[in-house]
Symmetry: C2
Subunit: 335 residues, 2 copies
């Protein structure tokens, strides 16, 4: 038998076997040794598909903890599913790894992804691991399911509905600003726990999967807030063909965000137009608000009414005195 | 209404609207204006999922025609589906675009992807468009479907089966070698049409989707040959727990590959161990070979028996005289 060639594992095979096979235990992943994964979707349900890519230096800092990068890449995709009313079915990962990324950093990335897929109850089924001469690129595809025809779209808003958001707005954008401009007066007013809160919200989005059923039951239009509340709401209103008014004073803020904005009012614009909230923005008919509230309470997810839709087009953001606010930049774009 | 903010489209929105919306006409793509896509899978079928990423300078040349890059990225994923016996359902695209990539190149990429998704009858449902400071990264996720439980795995080979491949082997690897070392004596022997054939096979894989049903009906184990015939076969045998013998002389070669190898015998190793064939490698029980042949003839896809599986482990590649061949490198790895 000395002539017989063993199956010589390549570097890529080793990396997959050591890092990713241990976190891909679903039988449909086939131990990551096959060309593809296999899974039976729930009978009679629609598939909801999303795919977001994150690039080092654009969507996260290259020096962010690798396990946080993995969690963020996963969660921004799960957030899309949540906003559509879907239950996660599976995720796939493609990662382009810089040539100088240490093995330990890759291992930390894989551990973070493994812990977070387990925590969210969504199996990693497969993907691809490639080298790049450029920055780390993480692309995750998330598949979700929901009862046929019940996906909540962006374009489902109608005139005369309440505009609601989950959680608090602006923490992640302030967390990013804190890293970029830590000496701003607004941040000087914060205690260490408040700074840590903002920093954590930037690193670790919280996909509102617990509200998926509530959105299917109650929402007109919905989306997750990824590029800033004001810009994203303007998009939702536009594709729905309605107008909207929100009161800046009703936008839910964390104590940390509130303290920073109190010390430096210019940070309100950062909070309202910055990205990375990954909260859910939805419109809800008045007679369905209580139903959404039941789901929200059961899931422990705060939901706040911040305004109303109307006939016509465009978005007005009013300050506490009723005057319209204008912003230099309504939403975030990489282009 | 002068106070009302229009939904200001971002650069990314413009890019998606101009380039990708026109090629994503399936209703489930929702015009690419939503967070996610939606599609109803065929009832009672399994989902087959694959996600391959390609990086400029690693998997293709940065100067390759952008429409060819798009076609290759799509086809390597469809090839995975074909090898598993699946019918394509949908694809998603994530593309990390270098800051200096001209708009016209992006447009050519989108046109190529649009033409190729249409030609393969698979809708583009969504994805993500991001900027990178590094090389172009193209990640495609392909979803396929097949009757429940019928996915053809790599590990299904059994002793005493025929080892078969589709099409011809080595053209793409020789096409790559021709670009890297055009002055090699083997290539001097080729006429322009033969050179063009090899170059085209490197740029444009041909996913063998027409054989999917035949593989479900007849194959033991199967995979697509992406990292070289010898290395990929060794992997298939190892995960199946069987051995294999193939005759190098029976490996199907195109006239161009045959001419190059005749002029420079060292190119045989390139053909047998180089990557990017995207042909299908399968094992087939003797009593099912004729059934596979019926499918192959109907699909116009040549299938050639190149060896047999056996008890034990390891792969022997024999030359025309029956001696074992050894190779410096059995398969391609980026790591």
């Amino acid at each position: 038998m000395t002539d017989r060639r063993p199956a010589a594992p390549t570097g890529e095979d080793h990396l997959i076997a050591e890092l990713f096979r241990p976190i891909a235990r679903h039988p449909g992943a086939l131990g990551l040794i096959d060309d593809a994964a296999c899974i039976a979707p729930p009978p009679g349900e629609d598939l909801v598909l999303t795919k977001d890519a994150l690039v080092a230096g654009v969507h996260f800092f290259p020096e962010d903890p690798p396990d946080s990068i993995a969690r963020k890449a996963l969660r921004v995709n799960l957030s899309d599913l949540a906003a559509k009313g879907a239950t996660p079915l599976a995720v796939l990962l493609a990662i382009a790894i810089p040539k100088d990324m240490p093995f330990e950093a890759m291992a930390a990335f894989a551990r973070g992804l493994g812990a977070d897929t387990a925590a969210h109850g969504v199996p990693l089924l497969g993907g691809d691991t490639v080298r790049t001469t450029g920055p780390l690129v993480v692309s995750i595809t998330a598949l979700g399911t929901l009862p046929r025809g019940e996906m909540v779209t962006r374009s489902g808003a109608r005139p005369g509905q309440a505009i609601v958001v989950t959680g608090t707005i602006g923490d992640a954008a302030l967390g990013l600003a804190l890293r970029l401009e830590p000496k701003r007066p607004g941040f000087a007013a914060l205690d260490p726990a408040q700074r840590a809160h903002l920093a954590d919200r930037y690193l670790h989005p919280r996909p509102r999967l617990g509200l998926a059923g509530g959105l299917r039951a109650a929402a007109g239009g919905a989306m997750d807030v990824s590029d800033g509340l004001v810009g994203d709401l303007a998009k939702l209103l536009a594709v729905s063909g309605v107008s909207g008014d929100i009161d800046a004073a009703r936008v839910p803020l964390s104590p940390a965000a509130r303290a920073a904005i109190a010390a430096e009012p210019a940070l309100l614009e950062v909070a309202l137009t910055g990205g990375d909230d990954y909260e859910i923005l939805a419109t809800v008919a008045d007679d369905k608000l209580s139903s959404l509230g039941v789901y929200a309470t059961a899931a422990g997810i705060p939901v706040t009414v911040i305004g109303r839709t109307g006939e016509g087009a465009g978005l007005v953001v009013k300050d506490a005195g009723g005057a319209s606010l204008t912003f230099a930049r309504a939403s975030f774009s990489h282009f």
